[in-house]
Structure formats: C-alpha cells, structure tokens
Amino acid sequence: MTRITVMDAIDQALAEEMAHDPAVLLMGEGVATKRRALVEAFGPARVRNTPLAEGIIAGTAVGAAATGLRPVVDLLFAPFLCYAMDELVNSAGKLRYLSGGQFDFPLVAIAMTGAGWGVGAQHNHNLEAWFAHAPGLKVAMPSTAADFKGMLKSAIRDPDPVLFFVDIALAYTDGEVPAGEHLVPLGRAARRREGRDVTLISYAKTVPVCEQAAELLAAQGISAEVLDLRSIKPLDEAAILASVRRTGRAVVVHEASRTCGVGAEVAALIGEHAWDALRAPVLRVTGPDAPAPASPPLEQAYVPQPAAVAAAAQRLMAGAEAAACV
C-alpha cells in the first residue's frame, strides 16, 4: 500500500495496462503533453496527442476497438462528450448488437466531471445517467484512489465500451492504493460503513458526503450504512437490495440533477424488489435541475451537503409521513 492521489492512481493504471497489453493506446487532446512518462515508456505511437475534435477522437477509438486495439481516450471534461455522442452512443454502444455480435468494442472514454473547480456548466455537467440509459455502454464512477486504479484497469481489460468519470473534486485527493496488480471489477458496489437503520446510497464525491452524514447521524443515535455504487452500469442491484433489506430505509445521494437521474433508477429498483422491507419511502438528495454555476458558493450549494443527507435520513427515521414532506 502506498498513499497516492487519484490522478497518480489513474497514471499507474494506464502504465500498468499499457505494459500488460501492447494493444492498449492512449489518445486525446494533450495526453502526450501531460503524460511524458508514458510517452517515454511506450513511445509516441501509443500515447497520441490529437486535434481538438472530440467526435473524431471517439470515432477513431471505436474503429480501432473494432479491429484489434484497446484504445483509451481522454475527452477532458464531461460536457465535451456531447461532441462525441454519436460515436459513443450510436457506434460504440450499438454496433456490437447491430452486427449480430461480429465486432467487439473494447474502449474506455475518460472524462472529468462535477463541481470543484468553479469552471461552470460547460465544463461541469454530470452526464453519467445519459450513458447508463444508452444500451451497450458501461459507466464507472469511483470515489477512492484505490478504486480509480483498480476499476480503470478492469475497464481497459473489459470487452465492452466503458465511460469512466473522474470527479474533479476527488482528482487530487489521496488514498491508500495497492502497488502492482489491483483489479476492482465493474458492477460491484462497496460498503463504506456498516449500519442498521438507514442506507445512504451514493457514488463519486457524494460518497464522502454520505460518510460525513453518517457521522452526524451516529451522534444522534442513528446507525447509517454507506453504499458506494462505484459502477452506475452495470448496477450492483444485489448489493443495493441486500442493504435496504437490512436497514429498511434508503436515501440516494448524487450531485447530478434529480430528474431521470441515477437516484430515480435506484429508488425504482428498491420499490420493485424490496417494497416489503421498506419502513419509509426512498428519498433522493441530489443536485438541482439547473446548469452548474461558476460562483463558488453557488457551486457548493449545487452539491448535496452532509447536513442535508443527514436531515433526509432523520425524516425517514421519523416515519413515512415526515419523509413525504420533502
């Protein structure tokens, strides 16, 4: 174990996977400029700067993936993915199916997302639910340095296209990361804290928010479990349902806007499959249905805070009627 930042964990994963498989290459605007060590280790053919053109970066990755390479593309900020939607959604996500399984598309698209830099809505927009809704794609959104490393390695080895989101607020946080081979499978949630009374379900930067909320709740005698989804798709339905069956209450927390967000999917899943275990409605604490503002206090207000998560859990503990008054 060594203590490194999320960005260093990503670098480790890239270096290890490029050493592990000569078909892996990295492309994107500035990847060769920013990651000189990778260029020196693997050469300029495998670490490529590209024109500033997200569509062709993604399209090139899709074409390369179909014919024997394992491209990783850095598309910088999540809103820029809109320029690459056709290649990611219509090609990467659909062509395996449309070809009747003749072609595979093993590629990873990395993008930073979320509040933390005050860069405003054209750099900060949490789009994970869009891609989870599109067939054929997988979506990873880790919260710890160890998971960033282990999940990126798994994503690169995965035979299907993976959207890999890096929460800006987590990028320079650090954590214990196993040296060398460390694979974290896609589609498995992690229990960050055990609890009996309520499950706080989240991913990315709002996982530590939930952990802080659990501390607040503990001080009031409420035992909160914290579940880090880590993957949005595949979603670890079994882990969600098992936890809610134990606690009987759930709050889903994410920074992305509420409407048709991941929280809606998780709440529906619980309603469909664990209704009998629920002692109160499932609540959501999310970002608003508004673009992300640049002003620092507004940007922070956009992100769910520990007190709001704790308050939601308290309402659940007070009973269904109080919960409904949100």
């Binding site: 399209g59 070809s99 009747g100």
Partner: protein, 320 residues
C-alpha cells in the same frame, strides 16, 4: 461465400453490376409488395461500387453508408444472406438485427454500414490506425456521399488521416442528392475533392458511371496508399437514379436531369462499349444478366426459408 477478387475483365465487372441491379430490383419489390423497411438503393451507382471494390485485395477493409448493397455484393456477399438480413431473418449477416441499414460482414472485411451519415468517416480513421499499428497491409476503403461531405466529421476524419498518415482510401460517391435535397442547394463548390486537397491529400475525380475508369483510378489510389502509407481521396461523379428510400415518387427531381443521367445508366454504357468493340456478344450478355437474376431468385428463396430470430435474441449481443 468469401471475398471476391477480380482480374479486371470487363465481363466480370458487368456481371457484378448486374448482380447489384437485380438485387436492388428485388429489394424494391420486397418493399412494394411486403413492406420490407429501410430500402435505400444505389441504382445508378453500380459502376462506382464495382470499380472500387474490384481494385481491392483480400486484406483490404471496407466501411460504407446506407447505400451499401453494391459494396457488399461486389465484395462477394451472399445475396441470400443479405436478403435474409433485409427481411429480418436469422440467417442474415447480422442475425436480422441490422436490417438493410447497418449490414456488416466481418468475413468479407466489411466493418461497417453506417446509417448515421458520416459515421463511416468517423470510424475509418480508427480502423486504419489498427492497420498501421498492428502492421497489417490492408487499405481501409471508406465509401460515403456528397451529403456526408457536409458533415463536420468529414473534415475531422480527413484531417486526422492526413496528419497520422493513415491508409484510408476515401471514396466519395457524389450522387448529387442528400436525402431530398439536391447537392446544388448545400454547397457552393461543384467538386468535393478540392476539400481533400486542402488537407494535403492526393485526389482524383473520375466518371463514376464508367466502371473501367473507376477501377483504373481505384487501382492507382490503392497503389499510392500502399506505397506511401498516406490516405487518398477519390471522387466518383454519379447519380442516384431512384429516390432517397422506397417508396419515393421523386416528384422533387428535375425530370430533364433525371433523363440525362438515365441515358448514362452505367450498365447500359458498359454493355454498349463492349458490344461496339466486339468484346462481348449479345448471347453472352443475355446469359450474364439471366445468371444475375437467377442468383437473386435463389437468394430470395433462401431468405424466405430462413426463420425469424427467436425472441430470446432480443437481448443477446448487447455486451460481450
């Protein structure tokens, strides 16, 4: 049925063109009689397809657009499996999941039929990057139309292929129509190849209704790509004789223009040239046409006999 390789005899080209024409006529009939969906023909463009594909080797790869039946058939696709795909049957090239609009055939080196106009341009660079990085010899041929040349991806693709010296043969089948809009309404320039020259690419413009001229130009292009490793842009000037899709009454088409291009039907042009030069006789021509229609008939029977996919196929092949 595997990849078809050509020695370049005119009868061979004509035979391939008749197979495409007979296939398109059957596809039109299937739409009219049975409502088979998604029929976008390339009637009138057979010479461009056969001319280019006949210049390719076994290692070369193809990406194409929604008017792909000619490219597939010229490459050696089994008309039965194509018709089965169009009719949504299990024995289609893509198990019936593609329909007519997205047929790919890995065994033939056909990586993609894209119905998103320009999608083939977006992926061609990546396929060519695989060829380059994995040390494969094959050239990547990318067919698209003048409509795709109006998409941003056209420019992004050409720029990157030129910059990275990718082995792409860009083939613009300039058929004068972009869905229901004439090319004159969408661009000031008459010629698309000039755009490619602007990206530092060698280009050629050829009469797309003359298969021998197209083949000669394509052979030169492929040789240039193999020698230099750099992309090449070939514009085939042709015309979409039928509508955007079936049915389409073409009421929006200038009748004089349509008549002028009908008079330049690529099959009739080649036949007339061969007959005039004594390179083929009328009996051989008749036999060649009859064989094309016989093969399409046989293919249609195969397709009709192929079952629909099981409902369980609905959610297979989504993920590996």
């Amino acid at each position: 049925m595997g990849i078809r390789l050509y020695d370049g005899r005119a009868e061979e080209l004509l035979q391939a063109m008749w197979l495409i024409r007979a296939y398109e006529e059957r596809a039109v009939a299937l739409q009219a009689e049975q409502g088979v969906p998604g029929t976008c023909t390339a009637v009138g463009q057979e010479a461009a397809a056969v001319g280019v594909v006949s210049a390719l080797g076994a290692d070369d790869l193809i990406l194409t657009n929604h008017r792909s039946s000619g490219h597939l058939l010229a490459r050696g696709a089994d008309p039965g499996r194509m018709l089965a795909e169009v009719m949504g049957r299990r024995d289609g090239y893509c198990k019936g999941k593609s329909g007519s609009l997205h047929i790919s055939a890995k065994d033939l080196g056909v990586v993609l039929t894209s119905t998103i106009v320009g999608g083939e341009l977006a992926l061609a660079t990546g396929v060519a990057l695989s060829q380059q990085m994995l040390g494969r010899r094959g050239v990547v041929t990318c067919f698209f139309g003048d409509g795709a040349a109006c998409e941003g991806r056209f420019h992004e693709s050409l720029n990157l292929a030129a910059l990275w010296r990718l082995p792409v043969l860009y083939v613009c089948e300039n058929n004068q129509w972009q869905a229901f809009v004439h090319r004159r309404e969408t661009m000031l320039a008459d010629n698309i190849a000039a755009r490619a020259a602007g990206y530092g690419m060698d280009t050629a413009v050829v009469d797309g209704n003359d298969p021998e001229a197209v083949r000669a130009a394509a052979l030169e292009a492929v040789e240039s790509i193999r020698a230099s490793g750099r992309p090449y842009f070939l514009e085939a000037r042709t015309y979409r004789l039928r509508g955007h899709f079936e049915p389409d009454d073409q009421a929006y088409v200038d009748p004089d223009e349509l008549a002028a291009w009908r008079a330049r039907d690529p099959l009739a042009l080649l036949e007339a040239r061969l007959l005039a030069a004594g390179r083929i006789d009328a009996d051989a021509l008749q036999a060649l046409r009859a064989e094309a229609y016989r093969r399409i008939d046989a293919g249609w029977r195969f397709a009709v006999d192929s079952p629909y996919p099981a409902t369980a196929e609905l959610t297979t092949d989504v993920y590996a």
